[in-house]
Amino acid sequence: MARALITMPKTAKRGEIVEIRTLIAHPMETGYRAGDDGQIVPRNLIRRFSCRYEGELVFSADLFPAVAANPYLTFCTLATTSGTLQFTWEGDRGFSQTENVVLTVT
């Protein structure tokens, strides 16, 4: 199970811009490198990241081989209503991880 770190405020005022920062443990293997045995290491990438705020897609990104290991993504969203932000990373070899963070809007 990969590990993820999500840094964001727990509460925000309505209409406030909230900064969200995400970090996930992943090798982001390009599929172009040879391992110690000389064989090509199979590609193992996170292909897509998305963030849904109460079901609504507020941010998404496609990731490619040039992205370094343990991708760090940061973005902002507008605090509209109290609810759950759902972060999903999906990729090769059926990789999928979802994290939920609750944001309370006052």
Partner: protein, 256 residues
């Protein structure tokens, strides 16, 4: 009597030789980095090493081994019990009668107290625990123990530091004392103070111990690296800790 006095003098001389003339001249590898890389280390939210620290915090509370015991059952809150521990390693281990590193100390606990299998050097599990424990000393000065039993090992470490090795016939001192701040190809040569281990090295795209770093340097001068856990590497670590005594611990650090 006379012999012990001589031994004490030798220790004193080596201490004086190890300490630079002006303490301010010593700089952490952090100071040689680009502002962009420094920013990654300054901010725990984007420091990838925090992923290992987080894993280590979970492992601290997880029951493991045939004894089914967790670290927290004996040691309690790591923020209190592990504060300053990393600052004094490598330390002398009475059981094996040799100095051991923090990672080896953790492994001894895993085997003896938890009844588990020893964690492999550089394994993610060991690095996670080591970075979690070492981070509890962040901001504290490196404080090598004043233990006479360590002296002969540290002296051998210093000798190795100054010994020319490999096909390139270079010693650690020639780069990191005499040419620190200069360039090795595109990279700045740091002063080699072990202030932030285990480090997240961008080149490794992962976390690594001081021994991995030392092995990388030894292979770099085209000498055959000592294997993980070799006493020579621990001796080098001992000397480096004395050389960096008083400098602040940055674990988990980021390096290029």
């Amino acid at each position: 009597m006379r012999r012990s006095w001589l031994a004490a003098l030798c220790v004193a001389v080596s201490v004086c030789a190890a300490a630079p003339a002006t303490p301010d001249a010593r700089r952490s590898g952090f100071d040689f980095m680009t502002p962009e890389t420094q920013a990654i280390q300054r901010d725990d939210a984007q420091n990838p090493a925090m992923l290992w620290v987080q894993e280590g915090a979970a492992a601290w509370e997880r029951k493991a081994g045939s004894a089914g015991r967790s670290c927290i059952e004996c040691h309690g809150d790591a923020a209190k019990s592990m504060k300053g521990v990393a600052a004094r390693y490598p330390a002398f281990d009475a059981a094996t009668r040799r100095p051991i590193t923090l990672g080896q100390r953790i492994n001894a606990c895993v085997v003896d107290r938890q009844g588990g299998a020893a964690l492999a050097p550089e394994s993610q599990e060991l690095l996670a625990l080591e970075s979690f424990v070492a981070m509890q000393s962040r901001g504290l000065p490196i404080a090598p123990p004043d233990d006479a039993r360590l002296a002969p090992f540290r002296d051998r470490g210093e000798k190795l530091y100054r010994q020319r090795i490999g096909q390139l016939d270079l010693s650690c001192a020639q780069c990191h004392d005499e040419r620190a701040g200069g360039k090795l190809a595109g990279a700045t040569i740091p002063q080699a103070h072990p202030t932030g281990y285990p480090i997240y090295r961008l080149e490794w795209q992962g976390l690594g111990s001081l021994q991995r770093r030392l092995r990388g340097c030894i292979a770099g001068v085209r000498a055959e690296p000592f294997s993980y856990g070799a006493i020579e590497l621990t001796e080098l670590e001992l000397y480096l800790a004395r050389r960096a005594a008083g400098m602040k611990i940055e674990t988990p650090a980021v390096r290029p």
